[in-house]
Symmetry: none
Subunit: 275 residues, 2 copies
DNA sequence: CAAGCGCTGTATCTTACGATACGTTTTTTA
DNA sequence: TAAAAAACGTATCGTAAGATACAGCGCTTG
């Protein structure tokens, strides 16, 4: 039983009363910096009183607060001196602690962006920046939340954003509103959904710009798409990972916000006023 | 002229008298841990007297010793969050190709998992693995899609999963179904939503296990939560990033699936038959 | 070599930080 | 449901830690 403070906490957090557990969680969330501050600051960050902090460190086995801080400092000193934490080398220690799926996800994100060119990003952002274009978003069974996430942000920085929800028939009815200068963003990873393919084909026939977010094996919708972003989805798990597409979505939101800076800033200000 | 303390020192060390220079060297030698200790300890380690230490920090431009320590702590907090900036040098390799927000997101994910213990994951998975427990998910303005994503998967591998949608009043009506052995998963990052807090408080009063997914500054809901997962959300963008929480969600889904392997496999097979 | 200036340490003071006693509220158990 | 136990926060206290005044010493310079 090593005496790393963090390990002490995860060992004993179950036996702690509510207030002390809050202290523990606050410390873990910003480990270890909060513990180096004064009791008053620590207690405020954790939302409890000073005595609760002191009872917390006492429960961890320390005689007093300075002793607790000394332990954190020693730990920190050891950590900063070990060359392992330098460079970008993968930490040997905590491999196995982090599930393999997370490691794979990180690599998926990196690999995804290796295959997305700056020009492609610029082109997509340019499409989305057109103020007169209507923008529609739709996704599949597991990817629709990503579409929803993107829609939630887009709605704020520009007008005419619609997330298509519910049944396929609902989407189809919206086709009537789509024209040549409009944009549809479709999220579709395997197993690819027939309904999305049918919808994409009809949208394509109306001349809409289709931006497809799919996996590396490319949904058949790629056939109709103006832009295709292929995210890596494979992880050692029964499920595919949509994390790479999620990060792509966030990145596009950020880039578009920058591009529309002046206009969206004004728009956001107006929104605040309406509250 | 950034005010990194280390840079300040190397800038001004030449203009310092002998005693203060010894202080500077001692600090640089075990940077920054010595500076976090008391003036007395610092002075002893440097082999000078206390007032010399105080004159030293005054020369660096700090009004008093606590202010100096606060600067070190802030620096440390920033450093621990993005080891990329370790040596102080900017990233050499892939600048320009990958947007900075993506790099930050990758680091956020890594850092998030650095603060999540294996035990905590196991505990949460154990809660979610109870077949008789009802599981509810709810999120805020931008995080609700993450809750939805998780719900979409959970629904498949276990029964009694419900995503709470729509108005706050809708959620409240579901409180009636929640009991001591049930679980509520809440996603809440700043700006924290009052409505979620109110809901969490009432759920807590009913004895429900609350699992909170928040940012590193901890939503006030942490007060009521049995488990708190603090994801890093800061990116160089006007928006916060929920990607780390998204990856946490995927990881939990994967772990739970493994845990429920036999049962969920049977369940999935039955589902296939129903198509 | 002597005089002046500046740096440093000792001693003292003051503040604010950690510790604790106690009353109130909450939770648990009979 | 009531009684007992535990936990939490408020208010207060003692002390340790940072700040300062001042004297001694060394170093530089004329």
């Amino acid at each position: 039983m090593a005496h790393g403070v963090a390990e002490l906490i995860s060992d004993r957090i179950d036996t702690m009363p509510a207030g002390e557990r809050r202290a523990a969680q606050a410390l873990v969330a910003n480990y270890p910096v909060i513990g180096l501050k004064t009791v008053a600051e620590f207690s405020q960050a954790a939302g409890v009183s000073s005595p609760t902090i002191l009872r917390f460190v006492a429960r961890l086995g320390f005689q007093n607060y300075p002793e607790f801080q000394a332990a954190l400092q020693d730990e920190l000193a050891a950590q900063l001196q070990s060359p392992a934490s330098r460079a970008g080398q993968p930490q040997p220690s905590r491999q196995g602690r982090t599930p393999a799926t997370v490691e794979a996800t990180l690599e998926n994100i990196r690999e995804t962006f290796r295959h997305v060119s700056a020009k492609q990003i610029a082109d997509i952002v340019a499409l989305l920046a057109q103020p007169k274009a209507d923008v529609f978003l739709v996704g599949g069974r597991f990817t629709d939340p990503v579409a929803r996430y993107m829609a939630a942000h887009l709605t704020i920085i520009r007008p005419r954003v619609q997330h298509l929800v519910g049944q396929e028939s609902n989407w189809r009815d919206r086709l009537i509103d789509m024209g040549k200068r409009d944009v549809v963003m479709i999220f579709d990873i395997r197993r690819y959904q027939e309904s999305l393919l049918r919808f994409a084909e009809k949208a394509h026939q109306r001349g809409v710009h289709i931006i497809l977010f799919t996996d590396q094996w490319l949904s058949p919708i790629a056939r109709f798409a103006r832009h295709v972003v292929a995210g890596r989805t494979a992880v050692p798990s029964p499920w595919d990972s949509s994390a790479a597409l999620f990060v792509v979505a966030e990145m596009l939101i950020g880039e578009l916000t920058r591009r529309l800076e002046s206009e969206s800033a004004r728009r956001i200000r107006e929104m605040e006023n309406l509250r």
